[in-house]
């Protein structure tokens, strides 16, 4: 049913339909509304979950780890500092092959403390073994939570999934969203059947010490599972389309890239803005396009290659940094093409929208303008040079 909902509310509605057994989270702006809505559902008896208010994000992740190990569906959400604080547990969950869905309301990392949107938090955890999706709007946010549970709990995957939504922009933005009916969700998402669980009827030990004779193979296994996920995600997206009527590739979205001469590569809500600028420029006869990366982990290298190999000029917009080196997303895009015969002539790197600085249509136009034969490295968009004059001491 189509409703006009705040993004956070849409997430809560979808999670309610997934009926997790245990929900545990710690408040952090801008994730708070998601968990508050869920708490209200539980208080009204609409959602029969165990709602556990914890004393920190580290414990929130630990609580859902324990519940998942007991063989039930779980949910948590966080942001920024919370995500980094629980990062030890996140690596642990992936390593233990426990399915879990976590919503990250992307927010900048302290210091300086900043509660507004960029993608440094989740991008910094791309090594963790979690699957990672970046959604463009509230509808995608809702839909990808269903896809996330379906993937996480698949016996061939058994890895946790992070759904990344831009903080404030999507969490607090109000959009029209189609919230499915319970029957549809039940048709798409079967009940969770764990591979192993903590049960006195059939005792097992989990979380054992692995010495050098065993550790490496467990990591190889996750790497192999990521390949399985790459093949499975489009299939799951196709299943999703059958049940809900909305089509996703699941890994990327090619927007007017077929004959484009200049394409921007980006993740998240900025893609909506980029699409508008692409449309405007197309009217003026400019051959431009957008490649949206929906799935960062596993990295859809082959799909990216296919989509971009004939495009002469690529601009990658990173909303995160790897301070001291090339930005994260552009590094991966460049790595995809290294050694390939067909590849873009120019892959320029742009940094935009850190700490919640708006990426406007003008910003995107600027990116297209700066996307020339001269390759740019770490070009900051909308920087304020006058601030950089300040001296201390």
């Amino acid at each position: 049913m189509k409703e006009f909902l705040e993004g956070s509310r849409a997430v809560a509605e979808i999670v309610k339909l997934c009926q997790p057994a245990v929900i545990s989270a710690y408040p952090i702006t801008p994730q708070t509304h998601i968990v508050e809505e869920l708490a209200q559902f539980v208080a009204n008896g609409e959602l029969k979950s165990q709602f556990i208010n914890v004393e920190s994000e580290h414990s929130a992740a630990s609580v859902v780890l324990g519940a998942s190990a007991t063989g039930v569906r779980v949910y948590t959400a966080t942001s920024s500092q919370g995500l980094i604080y629980m990062s030890e547990v996140l690596f642990n969950i992936a390593g233990m092959r426990l399915p879990l869905v976590l919503t990250c309301a992307n927010r900048a990392l302290s210091a300086p403390i900043n509660i507004w949107n960029d993608q440094q938090d989740s991008v910094s955890l791309r090594d963790s073994g979690w699957l990672q999706f970046y959604v463009e709007d509230v509808q995608e946010t809702a839909d990808f939570h269903l896809i996330a549970y379906r993937l996480a709990e698949d016996k061939s995957i058994m890895l946790p999934v992070m759904v990344n939504m831009d903080g404030f922009i999507l969490t607090h933005g109000i959009e029209t969203v189609d919230i499915p009916a319970q029957e549809q969700v039940n048709a798409f998402l079967p009940a969770y059947k764990p591979l192993y669980k903590l049960d006195p009827e059939d005792p097992v030990s989990m979380g054992l010490l692995a010495d050098p004779d065993y550790y490496m193979e467990t990591r190889y296994a996750i790497q192999e599972t990521m390949k399985t996920a790459l093949a499975l995600i489009p299939k799951v997206a196709a299943e999703f389309s059958k049940v809900f009527g909305r089509s996703y590739n699941g890994l990327i979205e090619e927007y007017r890239t077929k004959d484009a001469e200049r394409v921007i590569v980006a993740m998240g809500s900025v893609c909506g803005t980029i699409k508008e600028v692409v449309d405007e420029l197309r009217v003026k006869g400019r051959k431009v396009g957008l490649l949206k990366i929906t799935c960062l982990r596993p990295l859809p290298a082959q799909q990216i290659c296919e989509a971009l190999k004939n495009i002469p000029k690529i601009a990658v917009i990173d909303r995160a940094l790897s301070l001291g080196s090339f930005a994260p997303l552009v590094s991966e895009i460049k790595a995809v093409f290294f050694g390939k015969n067909k590849k873009p002539q120019v892959i320029s790197s742009f940094i935009a929208g850190l700490g919640g600085r708006d990426i406007t249509k003008d910003s995107i136009r600027e990116v297209f303008r700066l996307l020339t034969a001269k390759e740019r490295t770490c070009e900051f968009i909308d920087l304020k040079p006058e601030l950089l004059q300040e001296n201390y001491g």
Binding site: A21, V22, S24, K48, S49, Q50, I52, N53, V54, E55, S56, H58, S59, S62, V63, V64, L65, G66, A67, S68, A69, T70, G71, V72, V74, E88, V89, N92, M96, L198, D199, P200, P203, V204, S205, M206, G207, L208, L209, A210, D211, Y214
Partner: protein, 295 residues
């Protein structure tokens, strides 16, 4: 042996007090128990892949989060309607409880989960090589509170974990020791029968870290109690309802059998300070045997 809840073949040191206590705890709790373990000696020596000593469902996550992981397990069991028939035990060493694990423990106690928390107190970070923790006693020689020309060891008293647990308003708090195995099992059984969060702190000598012969483990544990340095107490709903009374022995009897305290034997000033700690305990908990008979 039929279904063993904690099997031999693990790699604990000979005479390990924690190994004694861990087996006693799980045997008292029974097979319908899920155990959550923090990182530490117990976890490492009992579960090196591909083997596990545990005959009950058991999970290890990280160093500090057993109480939180257990909270999640308890929540899942409640959701499944199985909590009443399955016990949940979260266990950790002294470092994993009083230091790095304090936050998760406090949260679990405050939220009132039906979980028994067991702290195996060997008074230092033994698994990583005998470093000082918040439960390391005064003047103890550890690698990070070493004895030297300007130091006589650890400069702080033990963090009062039983009192801290008790201050959370939980139904049952007790101390126990590997020196009195039947008392430990009685307390575990009692705790399991109570709904809500429970805390039991078990004193477990470590022959390697405390520097005593393995054969003296039980003896050393008893001496800690008999000198008043490790009172055996029980609180129910905040009220002290039981303590093991003693005919107090001088603290030297306990200190002299352990290498970690041997620097004190020629140091009457420091000995006096430790005797004071024992005397405070004896008075505070009324540990001295009355002249009439006592049990």
């Amino acid at each position: 042996m039929d279904r063993q809840l904690f099997a031999p073949g693990h790699t604990a040191c000979a005479g390990c007090g924690q190994s004694m206590a861990a087996r006693l705890v799980i045997e008292a709790a029974g097979p319908n128990t899920i155990v959550v373990n923090n990182t530490g000696c117990l976890e490492v020596f009992s579960t090196k892949y591909p083997e596990s000593a545990w005959g009950v469902p058991w999970i290890h996550s990280l160093f500090e989060n057993a109480a939180a992981v257990a909270s999640g397990i308890e929540g899942a069991l409640k959701y499944l309607g199985k909590k009443d028939s399955i016990n949940v035990i979260a266990q950790a060493g002294d470092g994993g409880t009083a230091d790095i694990g304090l936050q998760a423990l406090s949260g679990m106690l405050e939220r009132g989960h039906d979980i028994l928390y067991v702290c195996y107190d060997n008074e230092a970070y033994m698994n990583t090589g005998i470093q000082r923790s918040g439960l390391t006693p005064f003047d103890s020689n550890t690698t990070t509170s070493p004895v030297g020309s300007v130091s006589s060891g650890n400069i702080r008293n033990k963090k009062p974990m039983p009192e801290i647990a008790n201050a959370h308003g939980i139904p049952y708090v007790a101390t126990a020791t590997a020196g009195y195995p039947q008392d430990l099992q009685r307390k575990v059984k009692k705790a399991i029968s109570i709904k809500g969060p429970k805390y039991i702190q078990v004193h477990v000598p470590c022959p390697l870290g405390w520097r005593h012969e393995p054969v003296l483990t039980v003896e050393v544990a008893k001496l800690a109690v008999e000198t008043g340095l490790y009172p055996l107490i029980e609180y129910e709903n905040g009220v002290l309802i039981g303590r093991r009374q003693i005919k107090p022995k001088p603290v030297e009897e306990y200190l002299k059998v352990q290498g970690r305290f041997k620097h004190l034997l020629n140091n009457p000033e420091e000995l006096k300070k430790i005797q004071e700690i024992a005397d405070i305990n004896i008075n505070k908990y009324n540990l001295r045997v009355e002249s009439q008979d006592n049990k």
